[in-house]
Symmetry: C2
Subunit: 338 residues, 2 copies
């Protein structure tokens, strides 16, 4: 019965989240019952949606209960099994949460999935070949639904979702333009992720300036926008969107600390006959197999080379998570647990 360090949600943020909202505890892992497996987590995924769960208010998912282990995606290996479907050493992806071990009912559908690490490194199943990758796929393929030659834009362009978005858009013959914070991220977006252009929103730091930079980067206007941040960046993008353009709303990280962020000019939705759709990828499990197949091939063939920012040890998770919310990470933010 190995010792299991866990991070609990101790109290809810008042405005901005802080490390004091979390608490580190240690317990013994319980003895397994029939059908259960013990998973030792190698990596914990940190994702912006977790910030929404920390609030008590109505959101798209149940709010995280106080005193419980923070929710989160994990990859790891089976350390012990009382389920014939899983052998010790199997590599698995699941929602183990912010802890070193989890006990999972191996018979419950969807809780645990075995993965093949021959061509895809284990950690990528939390990023490009996991939830963030499928998120990019769904927004691009099912909502933006671009044709070759369309111009598509994504905010938080060098994050896990944005990275996959670029590769998926280029595979469809689109012009892909990113928005990211800082020259290093923008250079990486163009040189390594395959974006045709990337705009530094810190250099163009108001609606008018960003809209101007978008005009240059998107000479034919914008046909599709994948929204990760909301707020003034969305307002600027909307000014450059074409008739019949589409916005996939995946995140509004700018508003997660509680102050509602208005949309400056919703009349543009009518003027340009736009379509805007919010989505949560976990509600579209039917697309995961097709999406994961394409994403796995893109990674396996080197067309998608996602970068990772890796914090070491479960105790580092809160600070790494707060950094993610401020855009301090570079690519997928992970916590390495072994």
């Amino acid at each position: 019965m190995p010792r299991n360090q866990q991070i609990l949600l101790d109290n809810r943020p008042q405005g901005e989240a802080t490390v004091d909202n979390f608490r580190l505890v240690a317990t013994d892992t319980p003895a397994l019952q029939d059908g259960q497996v013990l998973v030792r987590h190698h990596y914990l995924s940190l994702d912006p949606y977790m910030r929404g769960r920390m609030n008590d208010s109505k959101s798209y998912a149940a709010s995280q209960a106080l005193g419980e282990v923070m929710i989160g995606g994990t990859v790891g290996e089976v350390a012990e099994s009382r389920n014939p479907k899983y052998a010790v050493g199997d590599k698995v992806v699941g929602m183990g949460g912010w802890q070193e071990y989890s006990v999972v009912d191996g018979n419950a559908p969807g809780l645990l999935r075995k993965v093949d690490t021959t061509h895809v490194p284990l950690s990528h199943y939390l990023g490009a070949v996991g939830m963030p990758g499928v998120t990019a796929w769904y927004g691009l393929v099912k909502i933006i639904a671009p044709k070759a030659g369309d111009t598509v834009v994504v905010s938080a362009a060098t994050g896990a979702v944005g990275s996959a978005f670029a590769a998926l858009a280029k595979a469809r013959g689109c012009r892909a333009v990113g928005i990211a914070g800082g020259p290093d991220k923008c250079r990486y977006a163009v040189e390594e992720l395959g974006f045709d252009a990337c705009i530094d929103y810190k250099e163009h730091s108001d609606v008018k300036a960003l809209a101007g930079a978008l005009k240059i980067a998107c000479p034919d206007g914008i046909d599709g926008y994948f929204e990760n941040v909301g707020g003034w960046i969305m307002d600027a993008v909307m000014l450059r969107m074409n008739a019949f353009s589409r916005i996939a709303v995946c995140g509004m990280i700018a508003g997660y600390d509680g102050k509602p962020l208005p949309m400056a000019n919703p009349a543009l939705l009518l003027i340009n006959r736009m379509k805007v759709e919010g989505f949560i990828v976990g509600e579209h499990m039917e697309v995961w197999p097709e999406a994961l197949k394409e994403l796995g091939t893109l990674v396996g063939t080197g067309k998608l080379r996602p970068r990772e920012t890796i914090a070491q040890g479960i105790a580092a998770a809160p600070e790494a998570f707060l950094g993610l919310l401020k855009g301090k990470n570079f690519g997928k933010q992970l916590v390495k647990l072994i």
Copy 2:
């Protein structure tokens, strides 16, 4: 060659539109050329979209040129014909503009359409069985796409679009709730148009109050919203919308005078995984035959009994139009020209 009184756009509004933006002139109708018909207008349609045309700024349609006849839908009869497809006395609907007569190329597709007034009064081809009716049909059927039992809401509920929306929604087994200004309109909405409930926004005159009234009128939340006005009314409706709900954006009359009206909380699009779509019915001509057939049947069978507000004479058009923008009309606003 009868004398033709016309109303021109003389100058553009600075903020609110006024009667001084228009100018009344009179000319002789020109002699017909081969293929042309002279139409004597019986009714001119006044519609909110015309306000957008008066501005110089980018909108979904070309801005109305200064010194030209105001654009507008008309019904009338053929007064003279040099086209074998049209006989004197034929009843026709077209886009004749704010004038008493128009000369039309009878061979150009879509400019003129003969209509049957056996079961449907001529004027209704500008309302319930015309562009406003098809507008309601498209937004309800193609964007909101409700199933029986859904709750759908429309603003400007007693206008030409809202009236048709109620009948179409009830025919689909929906709970139909209107928003209108004043107790008379609300009573009419429920007693004559078939709305299950109608909320007076003048009685509930802020976001919180209106959201509270909507909560009572829509105990199961709102599945679809047909937007005619924008601004704070939209903000209130959004607070009561269900997961996976849809908004058809047809008009944002509240913003037509120039000041952009923000959407207070676009994060709700994500939280509730909503779909929002702007549309212009003239871009979806493929649905008109099906929509007009249903609308004609609803009117012919008395299930849709649209009310009309009728101004007399072309000179009365500007004032009637400004009244429409302020919600002074009751049902479809027309100008009777003969």
